[in-house]
Every structure is written in C-alpha cells, then in structure tokens.
Symmetry: C2
Subunit: 420 residues, 2 copies
C-alpha cells in the first residue's frame, strides 16, 4: 500500500470512529508529516484525496476540517483506485530508453510558443501541416499515396472509428477475422452493425494485416492480393489497421493493402506505440467517397487530438525523427525480448517458450491447476490468451521492463506458475 | 492568397504545362526564394505541399524532382484547404491576452519532465490525480459532490458522449430541448436512439442549463427544480452539459442540476473554452449505476486526452489558477463585447443590436436582400441564426478580435450588410 493511502486510511478511520468529530480541525499537513514520519507531499496527497472524497474540507489559510459527511457517505462503496502492478508484461509500458525525452520536450516547447495557433480550434480533420507530414511519411514508408484532405487525425483509433461508423451504413455487416480487437468490435456493435468474425460475405472487413493476432502473424502477400481482389469484386470496404507495422523485425514489411488495392480501402495508423503511450495521435485515410461524406458532415465533428502535440509531432516528423525512432525502438525491443526469453528458459525450464515469429513477444505455455490470480498477487500484469486442456498461454511483452529488473520479473513469473 | 500558395501554384502550373518534365530537377529552395522574392521558409512550405500532393519528390541531399505524376492525378479533384477568414466572429478564437501562456508553458514543461508517467498509458478514465482535482474543483464551484471514480475524462464532449451512448440503452428516447447542439443530436442518432426536441416523455433529457441557446438564456431555478422532479418521478436520466457556465456575467450562476437532484444526473464540463481551444480536456460525472456499467466494460475504452496535458492541467487546477483564469476571462470578454457593440451602433446605426442577457455575445438584426456569402467575401466568419421576413440575425462573439482591429472588423460587417 502506498504511503499516502496509509495516511488516507488513518485519517478516514479517525473520522469514521468519531475520534475526529464534524468540524474538528484535522492536524496540519506539517504536523501530520511529523507524527507519521512521512513527507509533507505524502500528507498533502492524502489530504487532497480526503477532500475529494468529501471527508474533510479545506478552508483557505485556516487548514483542513472534518466535513459534515453528508457527501462522504456516498463514496463508501467506491474503491480508491490503486494498482499493485510491479511489472506490466502486456506491452502497455514503454522503455525509458526508447524515447528521447529531451528532443520531444524541445518540439513541445516550440509548439507551445506558437500562441497564435493555439488560440483557435483545430480543423475538424486535424492540423493541415500535420496531415501533410503524415501524407509524406506514409507515402515513403508504406507506399500509401493520398492527399492530406483525405487524412483525418484523432486522439487514438477509437475516436476515428466513431467517425467512420457515423459515415457508414449501419445496416452493413462487419467482419473482424482477427478476432482480438474487442474494442473495435464493440464500437461497430454499439452502432448497430452486424458484427461477426467470419471473413466472407461481409460489406466491411476490418483487418490488421501486419499484426493479425497477438502472436504477430503477418498476412502473407498472396492473402493480401486475394483480399484486395475480393473486396473489389464484391464492393466491400476494407479497413486496414496498420497496427505496429513499425515493429516487425523478422520480416521485410509486406506492402500495405492500401498500396495493393485501388480505392476501397481505409488505412489507419497510430503514433502512440512508436513514441509514447501518453501521446494520443492516430490517423485514418478515407476513400474518396467517404471523404466527401465526411466533408458534408464535418460540422458534426470536432478534432480530439490536442493542438500542441499535433504541432510538435508535425515538426518531429518533418525533421525525420520518426524514422530514427523506429529503428531505435526495433533494435532495443529485439534485444530485450531475446534477453527476457533467455532468462525464462533458464529459470522456468519446464515452460515452453517461443519468440513470436514477427513481433517482440514471447509465447509462454505451461500447465495450470488452480486459478490465474497468482499473477496479480505477484505484481504481474499479463495477457492470458488460452487456457484449455490445463494449458495456459501467456503472451509476454517485456518492452517496459528495465534490464536490471528482468531477473525479478522472471522470478515472480516462476513463483506465480508454481502456485497455479 | 498566401505567398506559399502562390509558389505552390506557380510550380504546379509549370509541371502541368510540361515546362518542368517528369524527373526534372525543380529549382532549389534557395534559388526559388531568390527568383520569386520570397523567404526560404515560404518556398519550403510550398515544396512540402507539392511533395505531399505528389507533384514533386524529395531526394536526400539532391533536392526536389518532378514526380511521375502517377500519384498526383488523383488529387486534382481535391481542393487545397485554405480559409480566407480574417475575423472569426463565432467565438471560435480566444484572445491572446486571455491566457497566460508563460504560466501554462511552465506547467507543460513540468509535466513533460514526468517521464515515468509518460511511459505508460493513461487509465481509461483518465489520470487519477486530475480526476481528484476536478472533483475538488466542481465541488467548490458548482456544488457537484462526487468521487473521482465517477469522473471520466475525455478529449472533448464528443468522445465522452460516445462512451455514454455505449452505456445507455439505445432503445431509449432522447430529448434535446435546446436544439442547438447538433453534434450531440447526431451522435445519439447514429447510435440508434430516438432523438427529438420535445421535452416530455423522454427517457433521457440533454440540457445545457447555463447556456440554453446561443443567446445565452439560462434555465431559471424554478424550471430546474421541475426538471429534477420530473426526472426523479419518471426515472429519466438528465445529461447536464454545464457548457460555458464560467462565462455567465450578468447573473449569479444558478445551482447545477446535479446539486439539486439526487442521483439520476450526468454532469459534463469542459476546459477548452476557459483555457485554450487547442487543449482538449472535458469530463463527465456518471451516476452510480452508469459508473458500475463503465467499470464492467472499461477494457473497451481507451483514454483520449493526452497525458502531458492531463498532468499539466491537474497541477494548474490544484494551484488555483483556474479560478483566477475564470475571473480574468470574464472581465476581458465583458469589456470587449461592450466596446464592439458600441462600435456597431456607431457605424451601422440601422442595425438593431443587443447584448445577450447572460453571455458575451451581440445579437445583430438587419434586413437582407441577396445572399449571405457577402460575409465570407469580406473575410468574416459569422453564425447566421435566422433569416425569415427578410431579417437576418447574427450572433457575434468578438472575443478573439484584438481591440486595435475592431474598427476593421466592424467596417467589413458594414460593407457586407450594405451588399446583402
């Protein structure tokens, strides 16, 4: 339990037990820090949460007082959010070394100085110069040739899918042959589309050809050509989510569907995984027809991505940093994955591991007996992919684990498995 | 036409006419700047757009060359986006003086230094400490008492409504008595809800009680109590969009519906208008039931607001700057609105103007004969609210017009009216 949560609980208990009565003054931040041997910041954080949760109230220049609790009761059922995850093995954390913060800070500072631009709303499609930079980038990298007018920027793939859903006919059927993109399936289903995981006979086909499963299978070129041919013949729309295309390291990147097909393909890409998870900028390239529909309805859409980050990213791309960043990340994560897989083999020899053919993930197979909460108990966040015939399969992304902590993480994995 | 657009067109014409043939080298940036008497940056911008649009291609260290045009043709039908708006009178632009950029830059820089936090994805609901800060803020300001667990952050109201729609039963009917929020009506309608503008008998009622129309009518307290009572009796959900509550200047802010009701109210607020249009952070406070539904489905939602801005805003609020910012903006925009209204009276005495009762907007009535494109021709962006009986009504927000340019803006308004 974090220190400030301890302080939070101590004061909360004192209030609930009546030791501190309504309108009583709570010990000052400085005093409480002395009493409980913690820092002033810790107490302040705890007091802040107590305020936010309605137990105490702050009075300017006078300090904190026990509130009349009218408001506090209703939180009793709410949990204070806290996670005890020590190691995130789902790939949700980036390596501190993967990203040049100083460089990014420079671009952000420069963007923050463009005060005139920051005073206005972004165009609904996103900043024009960023769309130009993206057009140039995906042309060079994926042979996706498009005008900036067809590019829509958004704060992640989800807001973009919301726009796309509102442009498409919701009586259509959508197929997600890759199955794993539950968020996307949920969005289409919420809009009333007929969602299924079969491939054939759908009006809309959603694929991640560079990352078809968590195991990183890449759609082979033959299959890509078939899909493009099928969609052209049947007039179906293909949504190509070029998810983590940048991280393919074993294979030469296969051509994008967009480049193979001529027309009926919406191309989607994202920068969060390549830069920082906290930077929310994705984009989609609409077909000509969908762009016209968007333009007609554009009064209905607001840009979701922050303007400062859009400006910074535009210049970052123009100056060529995305390319070097991609190379750097690929090198770093390849080395880390190999090191982690090696440690697993040494410490948990019974487990069968293999490194995903084309991604930086380790597939880990083992028997299981009891339940899966052991991972959580040991501070591990993992994706459990399958558990049939007493087998579990974990897909492990060690990207966020520093080298010096890998031993610790593997030991926790070992203990979790032994207790399963 | 902007200078870089001129350069863009010159080179484009040379390519299309054949003066520059496929694979020809285009004049270097420096040379073109000399030839056309513009800056190097201007040429670079033009060349960049020519690249993005497929007319020319850049070769590292060799310069720019005419492309084989295979790609350029498909853009012919696309317009290069450009707006000739000199004065935005719709309130979409903020005043440079309204915002302390230096202060905000400091908070952003500090947030950018929190590298450990930036390496992970935000919680789906948004950063916990920002939700605490918002809970405290809306408690003090609007008497909205809630736990941070019920607060969902998003990059604007639209992504939040998408989440809300996916939590609600789409067989419900939704009423938008305020009519003007077309974006919101569109979203509910896309999800299959039965959307109408009557007030009664709806399962969900969407209101902006602090800003019921563009004229800034505020819902009176009696009506608020009735609505709360009605919703309680009929079990209907009220969505309270507390849009621009901060800008009310003639009246004391009326209590929020959330504070009046007990339970069935979703409260929404935003920071874009108060800080900078380019900062995309809004929030909603869910009911207990909706929070539970959200928690069950939370794996389906990703946070849309950027993490850096979330961290910066949290500390900005904690340090009390939102409060002084609100006061500052109210003072500044009140003065500007009065000054602008005064100029209109002087220059266009025939027009009937009045300042919106509770907002910083001017309502401008005049006859019209021909069409409304005159405003656009004169570089003005305006909302035309009504045009019946040969009358037009403009709602004018001069917030983004600097004092020294007000005369120019009013003169353009005058000329547009005279030519109508």
């Amino acid at each position: 339990m974090k220190k400030y949560t301890q302080i939070y609980n101590i004061i909360k208990e004192m209030i609930l037990s009546g030791e501190l009565a309504v309108h009583d003054k709570v010990p000052s931040v400085r005093k409480a820090a002395q009493i409980y041997g913690v820092s002033v910041t810790t107490v302040q954080t705890a007091y802040f949460d107590l305020c936010a949760d309605g137990y105490i109230i702050a009075r300017e220049k006078r300090g904190y007082f026990v509130s009349d609790m009218q408001s506090a009761q209703q939180y009793e059922e709410d949990d204070v959010e806290e996670s005890n995850t020590e190691f995130d093995l789902t790939g949700g954390t980036a390596d501190a070394e993967s990203f040049d913060f100083t460089l990014w800070q420079r671009y952000m500072k420069s963007a923050l100085r463009q005060t005139d631009r920051l005073l206005t709303y972004s165009q609904p499609k996103g900043e024009y110069d960023l769309r130009c930079a993206i057009a140039q980038y995906i042309k060079e990298k994926r042979n996706v040739i498009t005008s900036p007018n067809r590019i829509i920027i958004g704060a992640g793939v989800q807001p973009l899918l919301h726009i796309l859903c509102s442009l498409l006919d919701s009586r259509s059927s959508v197929s997600f042959p890759d199955k794993s993109f539950v968020q996307g399936m949920g969005i289409f289903s919420d809009y009333g589309f007929d969602v299924h995981t079969r491939d054939k006979d759908a009006n809309i086909i959603y694929v991640s050809p560079s990352h078809m499963t968590r195991w990183g299978d890449v759609m082979p070129i033959k299959r890509r050509l078939e899909l493009v041919e099928y969609s052209r013949k049947h007039g179906s729309l293909v949504i190509e989510d070029d998810y983590e295309n940048e991280f393919l390291y074993n294979v030469k990147p296969t051509p994008s569907l967009f480049a193979l097909g001529k027309g009926n393909i919406v191309y989607m890409g994202s920068f969060s995984a390549m830069l920082l998870p906290g930077i929310r900028i994705s984009f989609m390239v609409l077909t000509k027809e969908l762009t016209q529909m968007y333009d007609k309805k554009s009064f209905r859409f607001a840009q979701t991505a922050g303007k400062t980050e859009q400006i910074a990213l535009c210049n970052y791309i123009r100056d060529g940093h995305i390319k070097s960043q991609t190379r750097k990340i690929r090198r770093l994560y390849t080395a880390k994955t190999k090191a982690f897989a090696c440690l697993i083999k040494k410490e948990i020899p019974d487990a069968v591991t293999k490194i995903g053919e084309n991604t930086l993930q380790i597939i880990f197979t083992s028997d299981f007996k009891k339940n899966l909460s052991e991972f959580e108990k040991h501070g591990l966040k993992v994706f459990v992919e399958k558990h049939e015939n007493n087998k579990i399969e974990l897909v492990i992304s060690p990207s966020g684990i520093p080298y010096e902590r890998m031993n610790d993480a593997v030991n926790r994995l070992k203990m979790s498995i032994e207790n399963l």
